[in-house]
C-alpha cells in the first residue's frame, strides 16, 4: 500500500507492506535511526516520536496509521542551525548516560513544553512516566527538561547546527 506523511517537515511517500510498524518504517525505510526500538510491548518508550505533536510509541503504531499525519523524530528537533533547548538541556544537566532512551525522552519533553512551557517537577515526571531509563535514576532527566523550560527557543544561543559531518567524526 502507498502511504504519505510529513516527517520532520519533509513529505515522504512510500509503498509499504501494511504490517510494517512505524518504528521500523522510520528506521529501516527512512534511515532515521535516532528513534530506537527497545521492548516491542509499548512499555519502555525508547521509540517515542511525535505524531501531530503528540508523543506516540512508534512500536505500537502501524506505519499505515501515520498516513496523512505529521511525524517528528529526534532528527527533527534541531532547527535553523540550533539545538532545541531540550537537546541542550540534556547536555547541560547530564540527562543521559547510554543515550538509548534519550530521543524518546526529549520528544516527550518537547511535546510537554509546547503545551505547558513552565511545568513543575511533578508534571515532568507525569509526562515521562511511560518511559524507562536504566542508567541515570531520572533526576537529571527531570532537571534537563527544567533547563529547557528555563531556556525557551529564541531566549539565548542554544548551540550550533546539527552538522552531518559531526556524526562521521564521532563514529570514526
Amino acid at each position: 500500500m502507498q502511504i504519505s506523511m510529513s516527517v520532520n517537515g519533509n513529505e515522504v511517500t512510500r509503498d509499504i507492506e501494511p504490517r510494517v510498524l512505524l518504528v521500523h518504517f522510520i528506521r529501516e525505510e527512512l534511515g532515521l535511526t535516532g528513534t530506537h526500538w527497545g521492548c516491542d510491548t509499548s512499555n519502555c518508550g525508547t521509540c517515542v516520536v511525535l505524531m501531530d505533536g503528540q508523543p506516540v510509541k512508534s512500536c505500537t503504531v502501524l506505519a499505515a496509521m501515520a498516513d496523512g499525519h505529521e511525524i517528528r523524530t529526534v532528527e527533527g528537533l534541531a532547527s535553523n542551525g540550533a539545538l532545541d533547548p531540550v537537546q541542550q538541556g540534556f547536555m547541560e544537566e547530564h540527562g543521559l548516560q547510554c543515550g538509548f532512551c534519550t530521543p524518546g525522552m526529549m520528544l516527550t519533553a518537547r511535546a510537554l513544553l509546547d503545551k505547558n512551557p513552565h511545568p513543575d517537577d511533578g508534571e515532568i515526571r507525569q509526562a515521562i512516566s511511560g518511559q524507562i531509563c536504566r542508567c541515570t535514576g531520572y533526576a537529571t532527566i527531570v532537571r534537563s527538561v527544567q533547563w529547557a523550560a528555563n531556556h525557551p527557543v529564541g531566549s539565548a544561543a542554544t548551540g550550533d547546527a546539527a552538522d552531518p559531518s559531526e556524526a562521521e567524526e564521532v563514529t570514526a
Binding site: E17, R19, V20, H24, E28, L32, T33, G34, T35, H36, W37, G38, C39, D40, T41, N43, C44, T46, T73, V74, E75, L77, A78, L83, Q87, Q88, F90, M91, E92, H94, L96, Q97, C98, G99, F100, C101, T102, P103, M106, R125, I128, S129, I132, C133, R134, C135, T136, G137, Y138, A139, T140, I141, V142, A162, E166, A167, V170, T171, A172
Partner: protein, 693 residues
Amino acid sequence: MRVQQPAATGLDLERVDGRAKVLGLAPYAYEHPAENPTYLYPVQSTIARGRITAIDTAAAETMDGVVAVLTHLNAPRLADAADKELAVLQSDEVGFRGQFVAAVVADSPEAAREAAARVRVQYHQEPHHAALRADHEDLYKPEQINAGLETDTQAGDPDAALASAAVVVDRTYTTPAEHNNPMEPHTTVAQWEGDRLLVFDSTQAVHNARKTLAPLFDVEVEQIRVVAPHVGGGFGSKGLPHAHVVLTALAAKVTGGRPVKYALTRQQMFFLAGYRTPTIQRLQLGASPDGRISVLTHDVVEQTSAIKEFAEQTAGISRMMYSADHRRTTHRLASLDVPVPSWMRAPGECPGSFGLEVAMDELAEACGIDPIELRVRNEPAIDPETGKPFASRHLLACLREGARRFGWERRNAQPGTVLVDGWRTGIGVAASTYPARRQPANTARIRFTADGFYEVQIGAVDLGTGAWTALTQIAAEALECGPEQVRLQIGDTDLPVATVAGGSSGTASWGSAIIGAAQMFRKEHGGFPSAGDTSEGDGERNPAGKNYALHSFGAQFAEVQVHADTGEIRVSRMLGVYSAGRIINPRTARSQFLGGMTMGIGMALHEQSVMDERFGMIVNHDFADYHVPSNADIRQLEAFWLEEVDEHAGPLGARGIGEIGIVGAAAAVANAAYNATGIRVRDLPLTADKFLT
C-alpha cells in the same frame, strides 16, 4: 609509584558523546550502515530439556523474501562446539526453554519473523529441573567460583565458635533471578567478506568478543573485526558474547556475503542474554554481647545452567568485610535446565551483600547496639582472608559522613514506632564494597596529527558509563594538553587491545595504558611533536596487588515508607557515600553512583524473574511484567564520595565506580523497612504482600 597530578581529570567536563546522542546520530550496533542487509529472526525451543526429533521448514522456506532457514541439520558447522551456550544449531539437544533451535534469514524483519512462526519443531521431551531449592538433590561443589576465587574457605573452627557464642544470628536470605535489561537490546550485525568477519556488536569488550568468536569459526583473531563505538547499557550482560552473536555470524555464512542484522527482542533477552543467578544464602554470625563477631559463616546455594557452568562468587564479600577469627564460606551449585546465568552489575558482591548486611542489622538488634557502631566494632585491621593490609579502607569514614548527611541520629531504634499519615517510616544502613581489579592486557597508541590533535586509540568500550569523556580527560592530563586537543578513538578491534568494560575495571585499566602511552610519547617526541609522531604504551599488572588488598567501600542509607494498610512500599530517600579512589569526572561519576543505587532500589522493590518450573519458563519476560524502577519509584537520591587518591591503585589513583553503587543498596532498603515496620523480610524483592501480616 608516580601518581598523576590532577589537571584535566577532576574537571566537570561535558560528555564527549553527549552531542551525538542528543542529535540521534550516535550509532549503536544496529544503526551502522549495511548494504543490502538481511534480517534474522530465531525459533526458540518450547521445551526445557530433550531432543529435536523433526523440523518442518517447508512453509517458511517458500515464503517471499526468505533467504535461508537454518536448523541443526543444515547450519554450517562450528570448529569448536565445546561451549554449549555458543554452539548454536550444532546438535539436536535442547538444554533450556528458549534456546535457539532454528533461524530464518530474510529480506525484511517482518518476513523473517513471519517465516520463523511457520517453522514446526517436534521434540522428544525429557524430564527437567528448573527451580532452585536449597535441598536440590544433586548440589555440587564447583572447582572454583568466578573471578578465579576458591569455592570454599575456612579459618578456625566455626561450628565450635557458634556453639559457644553468646549471641547468634542464624538466618537464610534469598535473592531472585534478575535480568540486566539494558535499554538497548543485544544486537549483532555480521558480514563475511571471504574469510574475514565484520561484526557490529552491542558488547562491553570488542577484543574479547573476537577472541571468543575466532576459534568457533576457525579463523585467526586478526580476521575478525568487532566495532562498538556506542553501546546502550550492558550492566554485565554484554560482557561475554552470548549465543546470538554466534548465530548471527553463522547465518552470515549462508547469505552470499550480505550482512545479517539481528536485535534480540526484549522477550528473547530473558532467555538468551544472561541474568543474575538466584541465591539462597545461610548466614551465621556469632558475637559477644557487645557485638564483637567471633564467627561468620556464609553458605550459598545458587544455580547454573546444565549446559554451561556459571559460579557466582556470592560469599566472597564475607571473606574480607568484617573481622572474625572463625570463618567459613561455601558455594554449591544446582545444575538446572535453565538459561545460562552471567554477569550482572556487581556479580558476587551484590547478592552477597544482601545476606551479609541484613544479617549485620539483625545482629545489631540482637546485641542492642547501633548498626553503625556494630560495624565500627568489627572493622578489621587487615584483610581477614589474605592477611594483607588494605591499600585504602575508609568504610568507617563513609558510614560517619553518610550518617551526618542523612540524619542518622534521628533514627528511632525501636522498629515500627513511626507512623506518619498512614505510612510506617524508618531508616536503615548497609555497607558496600567492591574489589579494584585493574586489568593488565591493555595497550594505547597516541599519534600527533597534521592538524595538531593528539589521536588517542584504544579498543575500550563506552556502555554509557562515560568512558569517551573520562579517557579524553585522562589523556589530556597525561599529555599535559587541553581535552579539546585530544581525539579519542575507542570501540574497535582495529585499535590497540583493551580489556572489558566491566568489573569496575575499565577506567583504571585503560587509563593506565593511556598514561603509559603519553609518557612514552613525550619521552620519544618531546613537547613539540611533528605530524605522524606515534608512541604506544601498555598497561601493567598492578604490583601493589601482591602486597595489598585493593577494594572500594561505601555506605548506603535508605529511608523507607510502608503503608500501614496496604503494605505499599516506597524508598522516600536514599544517600550513598563512597570511597573509590580518584574521581575522574564528577558529573559522569555521580550519575554512575546514582544509577547503581537506582538499580539497587529495583533489586529491593521490584526485580524478580519468575520461573514456572513446570515448563522451565520465565513467565514475566517483558517490561510489562518484569519491573525496573520508573521515575515515580525514584525520589530523593544523593551520592557523595571521599576526596582521595589511591596511590596503590595505579598511576591514575582511581579504583572504579560502576558497581559499588548497587552493592548493599537492597540491604539498606530492607533494613529501613524493618525499622519502619518491625517486619524482617529476608527474601527479595520487598513486595507489598510481605508487609501484610
